[in-house]
Amino acid sequence: MPIKLFSFFATRGGIIIVGAIIGIIATILQKLGNPPNMGVCVACFERDIAGALGFHRASIAQYMRPEIIGFVLGSFIAANLFREFRARTGSAPIVRFILGVFAMIGGLVFLGCPWRAALRLAGGDGNAILGIAGLAVGIWIGTLFLKSGYNLGRSQSTHTTVGWLMPLTMLGFLILILVFPQIPGQDKSGILFYSIKGPGALHAPLVISLFAGLFIGFLAQRSRFCTMGAIRDFILFRQTHLLSGLFSLIVFAFFTNIILGQFNPGFEKQPIAHTMALWNFMGMVLAGLSFSLAGGCPGRQLFLAGEGDGDAAVFVMGMIVGAGISHNFGLASSPDGIGPYGVYGVIIGLLFCLFIGFTMRKQIA
């Protein structure tokens, strides 16, 4: 009897369809109110969540993004339906936390994560090319460490409760946004902060955002969609499986942008972007290296957290805390250019990644 090796979503056709759906949904969400060329940027939206909770004081970036909640819960639902939910943790959580912090710091120097780099490119923002180039270089450095034996050690199966904590946290966030909904013109509702202007004030209706997030989370859990893995697997193994999903996202987001009149090619005056080429590049070198050392892009970390991976959950927490650090310490960029201390943030982050990469190379028995 032939062995059934793959479910549909694990095939090339499956990953291409999932990439297409993410690209289309992300650009439609922009039409419905989400920030331009941001669609479902994981880093930006986690940064907005940090703002909604008051972890930073950037008044333009405060919104409890339902897409992120949906990503985790959608993955949680899929993993349980298909019996893939498995609570596990213990693979160097503190390292993952700090990698999450620096992934966010690097991402906010560029102004986006790999997801947004793809969506910016699909919207015509030429600065994204520098970001994607930086991302690829960061991931390439990561693969050198991987080849020389770098690893974060094994995780262990653990109490189911451990795997439930991130989904429950997201459920808590959802309850918060329902209990303290946005009041027009007010920057606070109960304990949640809201933006009156800036990207944090731009969002699609809550229910649409939530269901879009749930849908993407569900599909991404099934297909293992990962933007970092896409580039990493190509560099390491010349494998194009995940890469075809990332290409599909960019192509379908591009065409959807054209149809919706959202495609504006150029480098200058691109939405929520700056034109400092070197730092667009370097920010993403740091982010790419951090994601590479942590084993997944920011989206993938959310989906893993949804299927019970407690270490991925710690990485997500690191990113949210990293957003607070980025804005409080003047590391994050703005459309005017990089923040006053952004350069130092990137340098320290790169040094940290090299330190981790060089010192955690014990061969696995």
Binding site: I3, L5, F6, A10, F82, E84, R86, R88, S91, L146, K147, N151, L152, R154, S155, Q156, S157, R224, C226, G229, R232, D233, L236, F237, Q239, H241, G295, G296, D311, I364
Partner: protein, 72 residues
């Protein structure tokens, strides 16, 4: 005795790296890989097939899967 690679508890892309290292080392024969997640199973199987190996069997175990791949 076939070579058994224990990739349980290792995150992406370690199971594939360990499998690929072994494939490069032994060139042919049979390799058994233990993984603990569906994702690792898919990734290892995909890598094996891409490199011209055949999946002989996948057994469910308490802690994941036992994948046997062969090349003649």
């Amino acid at each position: 005795m076939d070579k058994v690679i224990d990739a349980r508890g290792l995150s992406c892309p370690q199971p594939v790296i360990l499998t690929m290292n072994e494939i490069k080392k032994v060139k042919k024969g049979e390799i058994v890989i233990l993984v603990d997640t569906e994702t690792s199973k898919e990734n290892v199987v995909r890598a094996a097939i891409t490199n011209g190996w055949t999946v002989k069997g996948i057994e469910n175990e308490e802690e994941g899967y036992r994948i046997s791949i062969v090349k003649g």
